[in-house]
Symmetry: C2
Subunit: 139 residues, 2 copies
C-alpha cells in the first residue's frame, strides 16, 4: 500500500532549496504519495489568495500531519515552520526523518540531540535517492 508522506521544507524562510525539494518529492511520488507537493512547487498551493490564508495553511498542514504515515523533512535551510512541524509530528508519534547537508548547515540541537528523530546527512542530490529508498522501505 502506498504511504502518505508529509514532505517538509522551507517556504517563507527561503526557497534556495526549491529544486531539491521538487526532485525529492518527484522521487517519492514514483512509489508513494506526497501530501505536501506545494513545498516543491508553490504554484500548486491552492491556498493562495484566500481570505485568512495563514489560518487555512495552518489547519491544512496540521491535518496533513495527522493523516500522514511519515514525515520527511529537509532541514539544510533553517525554517521556523519546519521546526514547528517536526515537534507537532513528534507529539503525534509519527515517524520523522530529517535530511541535511552538513557542509552547508549546522542542524539544531533540538533535532540532533533528540533521539526521536532519525537524522541523515548527505552531500548532494544524487545521494538522496538511496536515503529516500531506505526510509520508504523502513516505514
Amino acid at each position: 500500500m502506498k504511504k502518505k508522506v508529509y514532505f517538509a521544507g522551507s517556504i517563507r524562510g527561503g526557497r534556495q532549496d526549491e529544486t531539491l525539494y521538487r526532485e525529492a518529492i518527484e522521487y517519492i511520488k514514483l512509489t508513494d504519495i506526497v501530501l505536501t507537493e506545494h513545498v516543491g512547487d508553490l504554484s500548486l498551493n491552492a491556498l493562495e489568495g484566500t481570505v485568512d490564508r495563514d489560518t487555512r495553511i495552518y489547519l491544512q498542514d496540521t491535518n496533513w500531519l495527522r493523516e500522514c504515515d511519515l514525515v520527511i523533512a529537509e532541514c539544510t535551510h533553517p525554517s521556523l515552520g519546519v521546526g514547528y512541524e517536526l515537534a507537532f509530528a513528534e507529539k503525534l508519534g509519527k515517524p520523522c526523518y530529517v535530511l541535511y547537508r552538513p557542509a552547508e548547515a549546522q542542524l539544531s540541537a533540538m533535532i540532533k540531540g533528540n533521539s526521536y528523530f532519525q537524522v541523515f546527512d548527505y552531500d548532494s542530490l544524487k545521494d538522496l535517492a538511496g536515503i529516500l529508498d531506505g526510509i520508504l522501505e523502513e516505514v
Copy 2:
C-alpha cells in the same frame, strides 16, 4: 514575584540578531528572570565541549521549557530550533509571544495562522521595550 522567561532566538540558524537578542534579554532581566541567557551571548553556554553536547542542549532546553512561566521568541531570522521550541511550549500550554520585523521576514503560517500564539510585529530595537513591558505585565 519574578517570572521565568524562556527567550528563544536563532543559534545555529544564524546569529545576525545576536545584539538584539542580548539587548532584549538584558531588558527582561531588569524585572524578571531569563533562563536562556546564552541565546544573547553564546560564551555563557556552559554546555560547550561536553561529550554529547546536542543531547545535553536538548535536555536542558526542554527542561527550561517545562520550568518557564512564558516563552518570548524573536522569529525574524528563520530557525528550526525556535520552531521546535514554540510547538513544544504550545503542547505544555505555556503562554507564547512571538516577535518579528515584517520588513525583514515573512512569518511562517504555522505560527501566524495558529491562534495559540500572540504575534507582535515591530520595526526596530527601540520599539521592543514597550512590547516586552506589555508581555511581562500580562502574564
